[in-house]
């Protein structure tokens, strides 16, 4: 865990420094596709929340979704 956090923090720090011009890969006038529903990370956000809840009940794994989960007695 510590190594992962450190690696992520390091990358984040580099990004925050603003020395990442190479990461500007798409100009603002080229972003039209990312406004489409099908290009969102979660095109159906309500389904994403519900299925995360379902899978957390039916499986022993969790996390990795960047979403928040309230507690319930289902698990």
């Amino acid at each position: 865990m510590n190594r992962s956090v450190l690696a992520f923090a390091l990358l984040s720090f580099i990004g925050l420094l603003g020395c990442t011009e190479k990461l500007v890969r798409v100009q603002p006038y080229e972003m039209e596709h990312f406004a489409q529903d099908k290009m969102l990370f979660t095109p159906l956000d309500s389904r994403a929340a519900f299925e995360e809840h379902i899978f957390s009940i039916r499986e022993a794994s969790a996390g990795g979704s960047s979403g928040f989960q309230g507690g319930c007695g289902c698990r």
């Binding site: 890969r25 956000d45 022993a60 794994s61 979704s65 979403g67 319930c72 007695g73």
Partner: protein, 376 residues
């Protein structure tokens, strides 16, 4: 203005969980109707209303209120009856429980920074859920990059029908997310989650019943897990996009899992997007899981639930996003309305503990969602 907001809250009763750090907050309302059913006689009906209301140029109020009508998700405190050869043993379904989850959040969004905080509360007959959450997202590099950090801490309590060694269950999740545009048609998101659970972590009703003895499930009182996920979205051609997701999870109970999710979306017309998905999941067993026949009453740790054992599952689904035409919805601004539908079917591999718990070789279930979005 404040009166309008209060009236809206009372009328709609709402919520706002913000699922992806890279996206801006919405100013709108969503009506949700979710259903779940499986061959273990579990049923969930979950209507909800979600609101994210823009209060000012930088502040958003979010709330979500729902009602989950559940059969058997929370079982009565009786040992699970042993499976019978003729299948006459009563299934665990039939115990109706109602859960009312409510969440409230406030989001500050200005320029390239978004900060969100909030709380969650739910009540059901045998469980009380409480949590606090916070998230910060920073967009940079002309919106090509977004970094996010989020944390949620729950302070839950069992309300058991029997004496437990500890009525508390708390869970903490810290998530770090990095999102990057790769090209005008490709984007990628990395997520790392650190999870920590403490308290009574087994289901109070899970029990091993043998002719000689009956014992309830006993798990360690702490669990620490880590999840690593990557999500990739690519425009294959103008009407079609491909979503690929992989997650690796492992914890100190020696459970490891792999999850692969593939989704394909296609614009059928300017008003209709259709999608299909396949999801594969597999996990290993917890270190204290063993054949039920090998347990003795003196074992310090006892697993009964199939989730503590190795199994695989496959999920297939279809999705649709409908944007009604102006002729169809003449009363509303059609550009602000979206109807999102999905139906998924999952089935697990054959497993002895599923047979013990649900009296069927494998668990097969279906869940559907209907969501009507309206942007203010």
């Amino acid at each position: 203005m404040i009166r309008k907001i209060l009236a809206l809250l009372i009328a709609c009763m709402l919520l706002p969980i913000w699922p992806v750090f890279a996206e801006k907050p919405r100013d709108g309302i969503t009506y949700i109707f979710d259903l779940y059913a499986d061959n273990g006689n579990n049923r969930v009906i979950a209507p909800a209303v979600s609101l994210s209301k823009k209060l000012s140029d930088t502040l958003y109020l979010g709330t979500k209120v729902g009602v989950d009508a559940i059969t058997s998700a929370t079982k009565v405190a009786q040992p699970t009856p042993p499976p019978s050869a003729n299948g006459e043993t009563e299934s665990e379904g039939g115990n109706i429980n109602v859960r009312v989850p409510v969440s409230l959040s406030l989001t500050y969004d200005k320029d390239n920074d978004t900060l969100m905080g909030g709380g969650y509360y739910s009540y059901e007959r045998t469980y009380t859920g409480r949590s606090l959450f916070a998230a910060y997202t920073r967009r940079m590099n002309l919106n090509n990059t977004a970094l996010g950090i989020g944390i949620t801490q729950s302070f839950d309590n069992w309300i058991p029908d029997r004496q437990l060694p500890d009525d508390r269950r708390s869970e903490r999740e810290l998530s770090l997310t990095a999102t990057q545009l790769l090209s005008p048609k490709q984007s990628v998101q990395f997520t790392y989650s650190a999870l920590r659970s403490e308290g009574f972590l087994a289901q109070p009703t899970d029990a091993l019943v043998t002719p000689a003895f009956t014992v309830y499930a006993r798990y360690p009182d702490m669990r620490i897990g880590n999840a690593y996920a990557v999500r990739f979205v690519m425009l294959l051609n103008e009407p079609t996009s491909l979503h690929v997701q992989y997650r690796y999870y492992r914890d100190d109970w020696h459970i490891q899992s792999d999850t692969v999710n593939l989704e394909l979306y296609r614009d059928i017309s300017p008003a209709v997007v259709l999608g299909t998905r396949y999801r594969y999941y597999r996990q290993s067993a917890a270190y204290f899981a063993k054949e039920l026949a090998l347990y003795t009453p003196g074992d310090p740790l006892i697993a009964v639930n199939y989730r503590m054992y190795a199994f695989q599952s496959n999920t297939f689904g279809v999705m649709a996003i409908l944007k009604p035409s102006k002729n169809f919805l003449s009363m509303f601004d059609a550009d602000k309305v979206k109807l999102k539908l999905s139906a998924d079917v999952f089935t697990t591999s054959r497993q002895d503990n599923i047979r013990y718990q649900y009296h069927t070789d494998r668990l097969t279930g279906m869940f559907t969602t209907v969501a009507l979005d309206y942007d203010f």
